[in-house]
């Protein structure tokens, strides 16, 4: 892994090749006031190819959102150009305001102000249930 160029910040490693921009958008990195670099299709011994995102600044990354998106991503926290901490992601127990319930019978379908919330029901199959109506979330194909 390459930490070059980051003094204090984070390096998101092992992003699935081609998904770097998705992660950038998911984390709202376009709004941060520091240097952000996306490196795409880097050679990886583990995955063949991967993307990397480097953020040189003190940003608050939502690890739950990241974990839901891809548990293979590793989060490296850098301080004074040294690796301070390496975090391996896991599926979050709850997801708040990340995905939307699509059950037309759910209260969230008619009340726009309610924040959509899901609970992890089956970690093996990455199954999340709406806390309001218990419907399993299905990703759009």
């Amino acid at each position: 892994m390459n930490l070059d160029g980051v003094t204090n910040g984070i390096v998101l490693d092992h992003i699935q090749a081609g998904k770097g921009w998705d992660i950038y958008n998911l984390l709202g990195l376009e709004k941060v006031d520091c240097t952000v670099a996306i490196i795409q299709r880097v050679s990886s011994t583990k995955y063949g190819r991967k993307d990397i995102i480097k953020v040189d600044g003190d940003v608050d990354i939502d690890l739950d959102v990241l974990g839901y998106f891809d548990t293979n991503i590793t989060v490296n926290r850098i301080k004074d150009r040294e690796l301070l901490k390496k975090v391996h992601l896991k599926l979050p127990e709850t997801l708040t305001g990340v995905i939307q319930c699509r059950n037309p019978r759910c209260i969230t379908s008619v009340e726009q102000e309610i924040v959509h919330q899901f609970k992890l029901a089956d970690p093996e199959n990455k199954k999340y249930r709406c806390v309001y109506c218990d419907t399993v979330y299905k990703e759009k194909k």
Partner: protein, 306 residues
Amino acid sequence: MSELRHLINITDLSVEEIAHLIDVADDIIEHPEAYQDICAHKKLATLFFEPSTRTRLSFTAAMMELGGNVLGFDQAASSSTAKGESVSDTIIMASCYADIIAMRHPKEGAPFVAAKHSSVPVINAGDGGHFHPTQTLTDLMTIHRKRGELGNLTIGLCGDLKFGRTVHSLIEAMIRYDNVRFIMISPEELDLPSYNKETLDAKGIEWKEVRSLEEAMPELDVLYMTRVQKERFFNEEDYIRLKDSFILRRNMLETAKEDMIVMHPLPRVNEISLDVDEDPRAAYFFQALMGKYIRMALILFMLGIR
């Protein structure tokens, strides 16, 4: 009781708490005079955003027999919801006027939203096809009074198992008792949802699916009939095709056990023939009566009185 309690799902109550409610309901049946003024000056708000006869009437009767008062509405059109008010605002307003709220709503999860915003206990009186815990308490009370125990039973669930919220709640309640097995009797299109099946499998509960009532009948201790609910279908063609899938007639009870009971959350449309009413195993009107007593016990419990 210091902590504010809500009843959204039947599993919000422990087995011990349910046993307590049944004990209190038994005592109310034995000594109604001891309870006739116990809720004097207390108010129950019945907020029914969709029509209901039995549930609303039984809540109303329950509070009146406890000496309390009832206020509320019985359809969304007569509430501020018609003007676009949110559930949370309605509940905050209602908790200013009442000591306890019973709420029915067509959208699933609405009582959960209500509970988050209420300063008084909220009882889910049915949310779409999701949960209906007070019907389940009614069912448990009925089984207790008729069978003498809540374990060691084979329960047949018949009709609309997909949208039937009473069925979902009953399953969640009964799997906490020993030696309970289920036979699901429904057309394929109205099968039990996968999450209920997953729960049964995860708990190691014995269950099977059959496509005819006759096949299941001899094994049953409880036959729980349900209506195919028109209001749960987006497509009327599907409703018409499935509504007469299972009709219980008295001659079909010939192979049933003598002490089996036939239950139904009511209203029935045509899924139980009128001639079944004459059979001593018909327990559905008795069930409606039990609904009042167990709701009386529940109101006392939620208000911290008993």
